[in-house]
């Protein structure tokens, strides 16, 4: 996990010389986001099958008005940040047991880092 953080921070600092398979890469992250897009909107739009992710950074989990969250998500008492999203996406049921997102997670750390880069760039 830590390694992926370093990679992604390197990219944000403007270090883009690594090959695409190695460097954290928001363009690749956008492709990874396809796994989320059937349920989650990345644009300013109402929630769909899943809650809208627009403005997710800094939001308290389970608090969006137009989405019916699971009790587990409402009780989670976390604020979405790069770190909390990273651990949630890695293994959603481990991070917040009994949440209702029907998704097994993204096991590959590099893919998660790229995805979060994309999300940070898009939502911030």
């Amino acid at each position: 996990m830590k390694i992926s953080r370093i990679f992604s921070m390197t990219l944000l600092a403007g270090f883009a010389a690594c090959g695409p398979a190695q460097a954290a890469d928001a363009a690749h992250g956008q492709k990874i986001f396809a796994e989320c897009a059937a349920c989650h909107s990345a644009a300013k739009a109402p929630s769909g099958v899943g809650p809208s992710l627009y403005g997710v950074f800094g939001r308290k989990a389970g608090t969006l008005d137009d989405f019916r969250f699971s009790p587990a998500m409402k009780r989670a008492n976390i604020v979405w940040s790069r770190e909390t999203l990273e651990s949630y996406i890695a293994d959603p049921q481990k991070a917040i047991p009994a949440n209702r997102m029907p998704f097994g997670g993204i096991p590959d750390a590099q893919n998660r880092a790229d995805l979060l880069d994309y999300m940070e760039q898009t939502f911030k």
């Binding site: 989320c36 349920c39 998704f103």
Partner: protein
């Protein structure tokens, strides 16, 4: 008295796959389209989301997405000497009643039917001689060829996010695909699903016996996917709740995900849910239709919706019923063989074996609707010599399982008591350790299997129920015996701890338990108005501005699931309307 509404260009009766496809194609052509759907409008976020969707009692036992038999059902009998009785609870087949139709609750199995079906009579006569086809087997060519339908199959597969592996790309046999499929121009929209362990075992056993296993093509997205209408699919999560359920992850190719949202954006389109069409109205000449009568089932109000064109896109059986209640086309009479509406009703047959492997953990709760492997060596393989077994058609044989639900799925070896302590111990022991090998077999049309209006029983709207007269004939019995033999040979070669062998059915067909929702025929397509209800473009021979789309046009049934050709024929019909009919309204085929 029905309230008469303002005329529209097209009225679509039933909004599932075929209604969705026709609505999209015809609104794109600039026509004003109204779709009338019996059921309500349900969406993934409001209705199929977790946790509510994983409710076995609601969806499987109480049929929440299906037709309500208290309002309308069929009467059923095995032969014309019997009195038909109403099917008061759904059982053998499950027509959907919701926006999206049966496309919401299907498993997603999507096949391309080949010329072996579309040209069934000519191909069998050529290979086996005219006498090979029994006198009462009323099979006939469909009037369309695989080559003509190929682009439309592909269009449907791309719309529905079908995952699979091509076995024949432009004539080149492909490793890992079905070598007996007809040539495809392109690969599937998505690569095959991940195999479950039971399917891997079946695959190895089938290969070992010299057969040609391949992954079942299915509208379960193996990867995230965006179709030609911009619909976004998530990747299948192998949650095990496929058949009977709406997909919680938008990973199943269902009309309410794949195409209807795109239609809804059109200003030319209007959906009226809870609208039950009772009749298509003909003009005085009897050669044109002028609209439909329908009832709002929430308020009881009756409306007349005038339209320039009527397209019946309801479930196959309901399309036939509407044709009969509307008096369009001559009803079929099995005694004389004359008439066409109700003719060549077909169903499917099948048999299966259950294999138990002590100590195995198959994880039966984890699978996609189509994560099974399958063989077509005794199905679309034309080199397989049927004359040794004396039947026509074939059976697709598959190994694995899907939708094994926590309450209903209780495999136990033969001889286990059906209740009590021993049963409990056996169900705990074998739950993880069982898999199946299934055959799905074709049913050939028979002179005495047909649909007509019941003389006695009526539905909630006072209309006669449709009467189904159906039983399996000698052809199905012979095929079932052969398929059971093949299954049992594969099963034995896998060396299971216990195995419940496949047995060919010889008992009469009954409406219980669930068997298959693949009801076909009743308004069949063909080349001649004397022997078919609609022409090769699914246009009524009687009324040129009426099209009847669905499995009801199949001239017989194959072993395959019907949705592939149902979708392809919907696109084919849409194309004929857009490029031929609109330019020159009238009969597209002169026979």
């Amino acid at each position: 008295m029905a309230k008469k509404l303002k005329e529209v260009d097209v009225v679509i009766v039933g909004l599932g796959w075929t209604g969705g496809i026709l609505s999209k194609e015809l609104t794109d052509a600039g026509l004003k389209v109204v779709a009338l759907e019996r059921g309500g409008n349900r969406t993934t976020q409001d209705d199929y989301a977790l946790p509510g969707v994983r409710d076995e009692l609601r969806y499987v036992v109480r049929h929440d997405l299906m037709q309500n038999t208290a309002r309308d059902t069929l009467t059923v009998r095995n032969n014309i000497s019997q009195e038909a009785l109403p099917m008061r609870r759904l059982g053998s087949f499950l027509p959907g009643e919701v926006v999206g139709g049966s496309g919401v609750h299907w498993s997603g199995h999507t096949w391309r039917w080949t010329d072996m079906e579309l040209k069934v009579r000519s191909m069998y006569e050529e290979r086996y001689g005219k006498k090979y086809i029994p006198a009462d087997m009323t099979i006939q060519d469909w009037g369309v060829s695989y080559a003509e339908l190929e682009p439309y199959y592909e269009k449907f597969e791309r719309a529905a996010a079908v995952s699979g592996k091509a076995g024949n790309l432009r004539g080149q046999i492909q490793e890992g695909g079905n070598p007996f499929e007809a040539p495809r121009q392109n690969e599937y929209a998505l690569p095959p699903l991940t195999k479950i362990h039971a399917s891997e075992m079946f695959n190895a056993a089938a290969k070992n016996l010299g057969y040609h296993p391949f992954p079942r093509p299915s509208a379960n997205a193996s990867r995230p996917y965006t179709n030609q209408y911009g619909a976004q699919f998530g990747a299948c999560e192998y949650c095990g709740y496929c058949q009977r359920f709406g997909c919680e992850a938008n990973a199943k190719g269902s009309p309410h995900v794949a195409i209807i949202p795109a239609v809804m954006k059109s200003a030319n389109f209007e959906l009226r849910a809870h609208s039950w069409v009772t009749r298509v109205i003909k003009d005085k000449s009897g050669k044109r239709v002028t609209g439909v009568l329908y009832i709002n089932v929430l308020t009881g109000e009756e409306f007349e919706q005038p339209a320039n064109m009527v397209i019946l896109t309801a479930f196959a059986l309901n399309n036939v019923h509407i044709m009969l209640t509307s008096g369009i086309g001559q009803p079929y009479d099995p005694k004389t063989g004359k008439g066409v509406i109700g003719k060549n009703y077909c169903y499917q047959t099948g048999t299966s074996a259950t294999l138990f492997f002590e100590g195995k953990h198959f994880n039966p709760f984890m699978n996609a609707g189509g994560s099974n492997d399958t063989i077509d060596d005794f199905n679309t393989n034309w080199d397989f010599d049927r004359s040794k077994f004396g039947y026509i058609g074939g059976a697709n044989i598959s190994g694995g399982f899907n939708t094994n639900l926590p309450i209903g799925y209780r495999p136990v070896p033969r001889g286990t008591p059906q209740w009590g302590r021993e049963w409990k111990a056996a169900t705990a022991k074998w739950y993880q350790a069982a898999m199946k090998i299934d055959a799905s077999g074709a049913v050939m049309a028979n002179r005495y299997n047909y649909l007509d209006l019941d003389p006695t029983y009526r539905n909630a709207f006072g209309q006669p129920l449709m009467r189904m007269t159906f039983d399996y004939k000698e052809n199905e019995h012979k095929m079932g015996q052969h398929a059971a033999q093949v299954i049992n040979d594969i099963a034995k070669s896998m060396n299971p701890t216990h195995f419940t062998p496949a047995v060919a059915r010889t008992d009469p067909w009954t409406v219980v338990p669930y068997q298959s929702t693949h009801n076909t025929g009743g308004t069949i397509m063909g080349v001649n108005p004397k022997s078919s209800a609609v022409n090769r473009y699914l246009q009524s021979w009687d009324c040129h501005n009426l099209f009847v789309v669905g499995a009801n046009v199949f001239a017989h049934n194959s072993s395959y699931n019907p949705t592939g050709p149902v979708g392809a024929l919907a696109y084919w019909t849409a194309d004929a309307i857009r490029n031929q009919y609109l330019k020159n309204p009238g009969q597209l085929v002169h026979a």
